[in-house]
Symmetry: C2
């Protein structure tokens, strides 16, 4: 495929034999980038579940912090700043994984903020690189087959961050707000500019102005840039035209002046319709769907509760289609 920016991965030996039934497989690299609490882990887990943990290698670039929490505090530097991270090594490791080599990945301990002993990571069929700065350099970007950027509205992201950091990481609301304020200049300088490099921009958003919408009722807007072929898009839009409804609305638009496809999915879509749409999304795929596990598609956690979002489910399936297409065509 003539996908732009994929020189590194297409130049590498692309075919390999594995121990599974399918003899020849292409390794695919998926990037999931976004600001803190933009939903990276939720999206990563959803995709990994579909392909099966045994087939997926997942690394988080937070592990490349060069300083522990205490040192960052003394230096007044945030983890969003490239200077706070081993960027050269992050780039090297992404390149090595793309080339099929194992890495000895550093390990940042989120619970106590310390740097632990590194761990061995072997690249499997699908490599997901998730993190704040994974599109920072061209050499990094060139390694990915599909680059996703998560771009929720800022007020929604702030709410997500407060919810997560107070429930899972033991912070007070005031601390999280102060942290958000301290990080804002680096978000502006280093994180949000990476939106420019994404092939697919995912924006979960409330259907109306209020943030007080149940999290399983968010709508989603996907911007699909022509940096990737989106070969099944129009077909999928047609196939999913069910009972006169258009649950996936595809339109042509401009994003920062450049032409893009936009897909919109309402969060309030009826689960039965959504389920029919899921079937329609996948049924036209010519590639092998065996081994895909769709049982947890769209499922996410809020605290101890598991919820299911139809817009999340369909977004994940569209990304799966994109990854299967990247694997089949490269």
């Amino acid at each position: 495929m003539g996908a732009m920016g994929n020189t590194a991965s297409t130049a590498d030996p692309a075919l390999e034999t594995t121990q599974t039934d399918r003899v020849v497989k292409k390794r695919v690299l998926l990037g999931i980038v976004g600001d803190s609490a933009a939903g990276k882990t939720t999206m990563t887990r959803g995709i990994a579940n579909v392909f099966g943990d045994d087939n997926v290698t997942h690394i988080c670039t937070d592990d490349y912090h060069a300083y522990d929490r205490e040192a960052r505090k003394q230096m007044s530097i945030t983890p969003l700043n490239p200077e706070c991270n081993y960027m050269g090594i992050m780039e090297q490791h992404i390149r090595l994984l793309a080339a099929g080599e194992p890495i000895l990945k550093p390990d940042y301990n989120h619970s106590d903020g310390t740097l632990d002993a590194p761990v061995l990571v072997e690249p499997r069929e699908l490599v997901i690189v998730e993190g704040l700065l994974a599109y920072h350099s061209k050499a990094m970007r060139d390694c990915f087959d599909v680059k996703v950027y998560l771009d929720p509205p800022e007020d929604l992201r702030r709410r997500w961050k407060i919810d997560r950091d107070t429930s899972k990481r033991g912070y007070e609301v005031d601390q999280v707000n102060a942290d958000l304020q301290r990080r804002e200049p680096d978000s502006e300088a280093f994180i949000r500019p990476q939106r420019n490099w994404a092939d697919i921009i995912v924006r979960f958003h409330p259907p109306s102005a209020s943030l007080d919408v149940p999290p399983d009722q968010l709508s989603v807007r996907l911007v699909l840039r022509p940096t990737l072929a989106h070969p099944y898009l129009m077909e999928i839009a047609e196939r999913t035209r069910i009972e006169g409804l258009l649950p996936l609305r595809v339109s042509l638009a401009r994003d920062r002046g450049k032409p893009v496809d936009v897909v919109e999915i309402q969060g309030s879509i009826d689960p039965n319709l959504s389920s029919a749409v899921e079937e329609a999304v996948l049924e036209g795929m010519s590639t092998d769907l065996a081994g895909l596990d769709r049982s947890t598609v769209g499922v996410f956690r809020v605290g101890e509760d598991k919820l299911r979002s139809e817009s999340l489910a369909l977004t994940q399936l569209l990304l799966v289609v994109q990854l299967l297409s990247a694997r089949a065509n490269s």
Copy 2:
């Protein structure tokens, strides 16, 4: 130079500009391999001192232990066993350093036997890779410009190990002896076979049968294999013929059936003569000697004491000549 087994380093971009006076420099990789307490650290420090710490990157392959001391104990595995180490990553890191790339090196804590957070290592002009298993795979061996193996007589090495482990690592003599016994099958299987791959084999030994000789009076026997050119050897032997003496005796011999040069230096050589020999060793070198620091050549530590060995000094200088020659000719 047509040195055997050097394809990796000569295939890499060999020339680079640096911030120092000398504009063009070749990176040189030196391997120093031998069993536990064979003298690797002493030899490494001596060579690093000559080139200056700012010009030398030194890594120890002990850092690539995959299990901490506690886990090794439970698994009944010794650190001499390749399965106890991240061998693939060790190979990858040696290759990356040879190619001029930085690595994030794992870090084994010898004092408490735990695995620490990794550290960033940038390759400088001279890269010394020291350790138990650095010649284990062909891909590793191919990275080195000069491969040294330290091969003291077993009874001398055991004495050195007891001295070191009881003074620096807090063990009892009985513990060290038990450790030596436990390690012997792995020494036999994995460490000593690496002697086969060395360009230069260094054997410090007592001049007579007794081990009770002052450590600064050991003689040395160097085996120089034709896998490397030893271009200055005969010249040096001639130049060092002082007052009718032959402080460096060069002879032709067979090592395991194959022809080699052998250099022998008596430990009892008079310091004044040794000093004159040092001058003679270096004076014929056509390469740039500026920046070499010879003030600590031959110096080694026994506990808190610093001693100087003339045979060690001359061995180190011969290795320096070999490294300068590798840099000049590649």
